[in-house]
């Protein structure tokens, strides 16, 4: 099998599981308890919080652990909107569904929601984005990089402009897809809220976090025992947090190397598929080095995915419904592609297990299976 769907999820780094294992067995305690086994769990949790905070330039109290990227995005969008009077949301039309559907929900409650359209490069113009901010806006959300196309968006420029013009507006960024390869520092980005998911960078599935700048008021999405400073109730997933911290450390240490390695394979992959099948990259411009989002003329992604799976190659189309059927991508349609054009696209994504030569080998394999 050739796994080229690391953007969907990527294998856990071995050291991560090693670090997590004691919390399945010996140190099983509920971190909110007042006895030894709980205390040890609590210590591990807080250590994990410190480690991750340090890696993104935050303070430990600014980290809210969640069940993953989706929950972090929900809290980042609904939290500010439900705790302010205007409650408006400005975001881009290419965000992950976790952001878009949260905004959609708020719109159904009567909150003003604006989706800023991207250009054909999959990114948004900062001026255009900032112009959509009004006095009703509670939160503005722009992803660091798009999960489907890999397009990198100008978060820093947008955050700076918003801070200058509308300092009351919270700025959120969904960095879920970007952590592997992009240097992320909350102050340099200029954001108040930032979402991460552990499984995208070699951690376990089922844990993520929302960075919440100190002093930010959020209405919780999950009410209950008041964990995470009241912003996210629920018994802590200690082993998840521990695993996430280790994975984040490895990802940051490996980042420069990872970037170079996946970019080399991705470029070789794209170049060869261009020669063999006249496939072309969808995004010209700033994009993640691990993403190859390609358009295959006169083919359809549904058929291609099955042809690839038959030969043991894992790729991905934009999105799938609950049943698993390929559905049209909202990202590509927002970029102005017709349904037929959008259906010609596939995403291949490289990851930490990618070996030198996989790019070329993958291209040959893909071309063989598709022809």
């Amino acid at each position: 099998m050739l796994y080229l769907d690391h953007a969907a999820t990527t294998p856990m780094r071995p050291a991560v599981w090693e670090a997590m294992e004691p919390f399945v067995t010996d140190t099983f305690g509920n971190s909110s308890g007042s006895h030894g086994v709980s205390r040890r769990a609590k210590n591990a949790l807080e250590e994990a919080r410190e480690v991750i905070a340090g890696l993104i330039g935050a303070r430990p109290q600014e980290i809210v652990f969640t069940s993953g990227g989706t929950e972090a995005d929900n809290l980042a969008i609904k939290g500010p909107a439900l705790s302010s009077r205007g409650g408006g949301v400005v975001t881009t039309a290419v965000e992950h569904e976790a952001v878009l559907e949260s905004a959609h929900f708020l719109a159904s409650l009567g909150k003003p929601v604006t989706l800023v359209a991207p250009g054909s490069n999959g990114s948004v113009e900062p001026d255009r984005f900032v112009a959509a901010i009004t006095s009703d806006t509670a939160v503005a959300s722009v992803m660091v990089a798009n999960n489907e196309t890999g397009a990198v968006l100008p978060v820093t420029e947008i955050a700076d402009a918003i801070r200058a013009a509308s300092p009351g507006v919270l700025v959120h960024t969904d960095a879920v897809q970007a952590f592997n390869s992009q240097d992320l520092n909350v102050d340099e980005l200029g954001v108040d809220l930032l979402s991460l998911a552990a499984h995208k960078f070699g951690g376990p599935r089922g844990v993520g976090l929302l960075y919440v700048r100190a002093g930010t008021l959020l209405e919780p999405v999950l009410h209950g025992g008041g964990q995470e400073l009241g912003m996210r109730s629920g018994t802590h997933n200690v082993m998840g947090a521990v695993g996430m911290a280790v994975a984040a450390q490895i990802a940051v240490l490996d980042r420069a190397h990872f970037r170079a390695r996946v970019a080399a394979e991705r470029d070789a992959f794209e170049a060869r598929l261009g020669e063999l099948l006249r496939a072309t990259p969808t995004i010209v411009g700033d994009r993640l080095p691990q993403h190859a989002h390609l358009r295959f003329p006169k083919r359809t992604n549904e058929t291609m995915l099955i042809q690839l799976d038959q030969g043991g190659v894992a790729g991905s189309a934009g999105s799938a419904c609950q049943s698993g059927a390929v559905t049209p991508s909202h990202v590509l349609s927002a970029m102005g592609m017709s349904p037929v054009e959008a259906a010609e696209c596939l995403r291949f994504s490289f990851g930490w297990t990618t070996e030198p030569g996989d790019g070329l080998r993958g291209a040959e394999l893909v071309a063989g299976l598709l022809s």
Binding site: E302, T303, L305, I306, Q307, D309, Q310, C321, Q322, S323, G324, A325, V326, T327
Partner: protein
């Protein structure tokens, strides 16, 4: 051989897949997502529901074959549902299962199967497909109660060459036994009865919901043209219908004609429904050529009886003369022509 099995999540296609695996083929299972609920979700009632695709997925997993859901919603909407609505609004009586077989399953799926390098497409229909005297032949399934050759009657050589119906050689009870023997979760699943996209409801509600025209009021007239009543839309009437006319007479009255342009429904006596001959178009012959013998047996309803008749080709139409008078034939229905148990051709009734 490499085989694609169309799996609906029912017992028949589950067993069809199991039989192909048993025969040693390289099998892949697919479910066609034909229809969707609000927001693009799988519907929760009728066919193609989440639980149906989940059943298909689980059976495929048990058989250890790859399984995919293919998105056919656009194709199904244009080819089947829009046409279904159009037919009713034009006073015709459609059979959407036949349209689905014609325009979706045995058209696009066959070409898509080729793209997956599959040599054969297999479904769970109760019919038989055999090769004899240089042609592929389509015959009734062994189980007379479950026979589905009628809804496959439009298939020709190009399609039959690429399809197989493994359960057609056995009874439904045998199919269920095989499923139970293999421990398939679909073994005792009830048969689907409804028009899949209509679900549990009345097809009339479906048409009303999707078209304003369906509720255009009009008049009921007798065969002489006298107005005898009013109605709330032609969708409430099909040819041959006796109940729910909204008017009463001393003896039973039937719908004998629906005129959509003027929203008029003609009612009359049973004798006014009497038909000895019909005209069909969109004619297809299973072998590609009309049979030598004009004597055939004609079936014009999915579970209707078969009636002896003689056919004659007239340009691109076929005229069918029944040996005995028929009652309640509606325009839009499919007429399937048989020689014994073997389908020889089919067409759509236009007059």
């Amino acid at each position: 051989m490499k085989v694609l099995v169309a799996m609906s999540g029912g017992v028949d296609s589950s067993v069809a897949a199991a039989m192909m695996v048993e025969a040693g083929h390289d099998v892949i299972g697919v479910t066609l997502k034909l229809w969707e609920g609000p927001g693009g979700a799988m519907p929760t009632a009728g066919c193609c529901t989440v639980s149906d695709s989940e059943d298909a997925r689980r059976v495929a997993a048990q058989l250890d074959i790859p399984y995919y859901v293919l998105n056919y919603t656009d194709r199904f909407k244009t080819g089947v549902v829009d046409r279904f609505l159009d037919d009713y609004l034009h006073g015709r009586t459609p059979n959407p299962c036949i349209e689905c077989n014609r325009t979706v399953k045995f058209d696009h799926l066959l070409s898509q199967a080729g793209e997956f390098n599959c040599d054969l497409v297999v479904t769970g229909h109760y019919a038989r497909n055999t090769y004899r005297d240089g042609f592929w032949r389509l015959s009734r399934g062994v189980d007379a109660d479950k026979d589905q050759s009628y809804v496959l009657a439009m298939l020709g050589q190009r399609e039959l060459e690429q399809v197989q119906f493994p359960v057609g050689v056995q009874t439904k009870a045998e199919t269920r036994e095989i499923a139970a023997g293999l421990g398939l979760r679909t073994a005792a699943k009830p048969d689907s009865q409804d028009i899949c996209f209509v679900g549990d409801g009345d097809y009339r509600d479906f048409v009303r919901k999707h078209s304003d025209e369906a509720e255009r009021p009009g008049v009921l007239v007798d065969t002489a043209g006298n107005v005898v009543g009013e109605h709330q839309g032609i969708i409430n009437f099909t040819v041959g219908q006796r109940k729910g006319l909204g008017v009463t007479f001393g003896e039973p009255r039937y719908v004998v004609e629906v005129k959509p342009e003027s929203s008029t429904v003609v009612i009359g006596r049973r004798s006014d429904l009497a038909v000895r001959s019909i005209v069909v178009d969109q004619v297809t012959w299973v072998t590609g050529a009309q049979p030598d013998r004009p004597a055939v047996i004609v079936q014009y309803r999915a579970h209707g009886e078969a009636n002896p008749a003689v056919f004659a080709v007239d340009d691109d139409h076929v005229i069918i003369n029944f040996d005995r008078t028929q009652y309640g034939i509606a325009v839009g229905q499919t007429a399937a022509l048989y020689d014994g148990d073997e389908v020889v051709g089919s067409g759509i009734i236009v007059a």
